[in-house]
């Protein structure tokens, strides 16, 4: 079964390896260049300025400009779910080969579990590794870096998102029984769930703190770059009337400002919570997949 799984998925393994190496390599390379340059990097200046102007530094500049890793780490889990997860069972059913596979000497349960383990574990590990390099890369930028902007690209969430996308893909493939519709459904569902969690759920994992201050400049990322500032600042006049989200000559005399936020030291707790949510969803979906393939699929 191990050889069979390898034989069936070796091309996908190659693709995954190439993309992970490309992504991991680019993040690692920029991190390395920054660490070389770190001696002359004042903490107040953007790290891009610290890179040396030799060709090596320019390559690092170019990689930074394209933001390859940051887009890749968001998009690739979805693609893994669509291109590797969805056809895992669907392609067998499309070609009728499930009737061949399920009438050999191994049960469907074993067939499925070995396939899932051998395809999922390396991909999740690769995602975790590249996500970890992204963490290293951010750490090099000093304590003032805002991690919340790149919440989806760091190690635990990247790995959990990959797990979730793959599970989603396998489930759609098993139920829809055709690869291409299953791929489309996987991409759509993945985007809906991830965007839904990011926009509607994430900021509520722990009740946000509220900052109220008479120093009108003491909110937002300029005041604390490591925090996740939620929504817009609300300005009030001295009588407590809300003036709005902007201040200017036309809106009266603001006296104090209120804005809620998640402080920077909660970042890893949030990463852990979101990863746990995605892993739980993935496990539930896999439970359904095992039930469906062993009991219902034909």
């Amino acid at each position: 079964m191990i050889w069979v799984t390898w034989r069936q998925h070796r091309l996908e393994a190659l693709w995954a390896l190439v993309l992970a190496a490309l992504l991991g390599g680019s993040v690692g390379y920029v991190a390395l260049q920054i660490s070389f340059a770190s001696g002359r990097c004042p903490s107040t200046v953007g790290f891009g300025y610290c890179l040396s102007s030799d060709p090596f530094g320019q390559i690092a500049q170019a990689i930074l400009r394209f933001n390859l890793a940051q887009y890749g780490l968001v998009v690739l889990p979805a693609l893994a779910g669509a291109f590797i997860g969805a056809p895992l069972v669907a392609r067998e059913i499309e070609n009728g080969t499930q009737h061949l596979a399920w009438t050999q000497g191994v049960t469907r349960m074993r067939w499925l579990l070995v396939k899932l383990a051998l395809v999922f574990i390396p991909l999740i590990a690769a995602a975790a590794l590249v996500g970890y390099l992204e963490v290293v890369f951010l750490n090099l930028q000093g304590p003032q870096v805002n991690r919340w902007d790149i919440f989806d690209q760091q190690a635990p969430v990247v790995a959990a998102a990959t797990f979730f996308a793959l599970a989603l893909g396998v489930a759609f493939g098993a139920v829809i029984r055709r690869s291409i519709p299953a791929m489309a459904a996987t991409l759509l569902a993945f985007v809906v769930v991830r965007v839904g969690i990011a926009e509607l759920v994430r900021s509520h994992y722990v009740a946000p703190l509220v900052k109220t201050t008479h120093d009108l400049n003491a909110v937002g990322s300029q005041a604390d770059p490591t925090a996740w500032w939620l929504g817009f600042p609300n300005y009030y006049d001295s009588a407590g009337h809300l003036l709005g989200n902007l201040i200017g000559p036309s809106v009266g005399q603001p006296s104090y400002v209120v804005q809620s936020f998640q402080p920077g030291d909660r970042f890893w707790a949030f990463e852990t919570i979101e990863s746990a949510i995605l892993c739980t969803l993935a496990l539930l979906i896999l439970g359904f997949v095992v039930y469906w393939v062993t009991r219902r699929a034909t």
Binding site: M1, I2, W3, V4, R7, Q8, N95, G96, T97, H99, L100, A101, W102, T103, Q104, G105, V106, T107, R295, T298
Partner: protein, 299 residues
């Protein structure tokens, strides 16, 4: 003796339609049994139930006395299955397909499998997708024989082959059966495929079994008699009427049982197997035979 396949009141429903309804079939050991019926008669459903790919909705089926859905692991080593259109992994080479069989079966005779393929002149490094239809079917059959199954289930294995490849496939199959004493259940909608190789016949139409029996016994017990036009109320004594067909001047009667005393002008005409099968298939509701073979088996 435990029958290779025994089904009692077996039914399978997909949505609202019963693909198979109240089927009782007993496939005798050591025979090549043919499962004939028009497309959509329930042949594939029956084979899938026997192979453990489907669960019955009603009734029960046992293979070597065990349930193919509940105790599948105990049967997988003993039952070979070649699905419709002989699915194989088209990206695999023939050698890869053999390794697939070796990796996934505890019981596997590599030397025997290699020998069979060599005698067919199928190169091991050729991709399955590049094989001809005949070669592809042969690889699928070889793969199913690799575990030395005691029961071999074949779903329309020759449906897409040209006559020469059909004959070659059937020849290989009968050779293997003769060597190893396997029980085979083979489905087809083309009677000519089965006539040469089968000793037992199951006719199935619209999800129900119409006839089951040894081909020789079926031929011996069915007769076609032709004579002058009968009036509609004529009664037949001593035989069971399967089908009657009347033209202006003559009547043709397909009967089951012994030929009655024939009056003047009546003669018996030859009734070949294919004709017999078509007779049953063209009258699916008119006659559903009792199951003499099953009664024998039960006693």
């Amino acid at each position: 003796m435990i029958a290779p396949i025994e089904a009692t009141g077996l039914g399978k429903r997909f949505g609202r339609t019963w693909a198979l309804d109240d089927c009782s079939i007993r496939v005798p050991a050591g025979k090549i049994a043919g499962l004939v019926g028009p497309n959509g008669a329930g042949k594939t459903t029956f084979l899938h139930l026997a192979a453990g790919l489907l669960r019955p909705t009603a009734g029960e089926i046992t293979v070597f006395g065990r349930s193919p859905h509940g105790q599948l692991l105990l049967l997988l080593d003993r039952v070979g299955f070649v699905a419709q259109d002989t699915p194989l992994y088209s990206g695999f080479s023939v050698g890869d397909m053999l390794r697939f069989g070796r990796e996934l079966n505890r019981r596997w005779d590599q030397a025997d499998v290699e020998e069979r393929l060599r005698s067919l002149d199928i190169p091991f490094d050729k991709r399955v997708g590049q094989l001809s239809g005949g070669q592809r079917s042969q690889v699928a059959l070889t793969l199913a024989l690799g575990k030395h199954p005691e029961l071999l289930l074949l779903d329309e294995p020759v449906a897409r082959l040209d006559p020469l490849a059909r004959r070659e496939f059937m020849r290989r199959l009968t050779e293997a059966v003769a060597e190893e004493g396997i029980t085979v259940l083979l489905s087809s909608h083309v009677m000519a495929d089965l006539e040469r190789v089968c000793d037992y016949l199951i006719i199935i139409a619209a999800g129900r079994v119409q006839v089951a029996g040894e081909i020789e016994a079926l031929l011996a017990s069915h007769h076609l008699i032709v004579g002058p036009r009968l009036n509609a109320n004529a009664r037949l004594s001593g035989a069971e009427l399967v089908k009657a067909q009347h033209t202006e001047r003559q009547s043709s009667l397909w009967i089951r049982g012994s030929v009655p005393e024939l009056g003047a002008g009546w003669r018996e005409e030859p009734l070949p197997l294919e004709e017999l099968v078509i007779t049953y298939l063209s009258a699916p509701r008119a006659v559903t035979l009792p199951r003499p073979q099953l009664e024998e088996a039960a006693s």
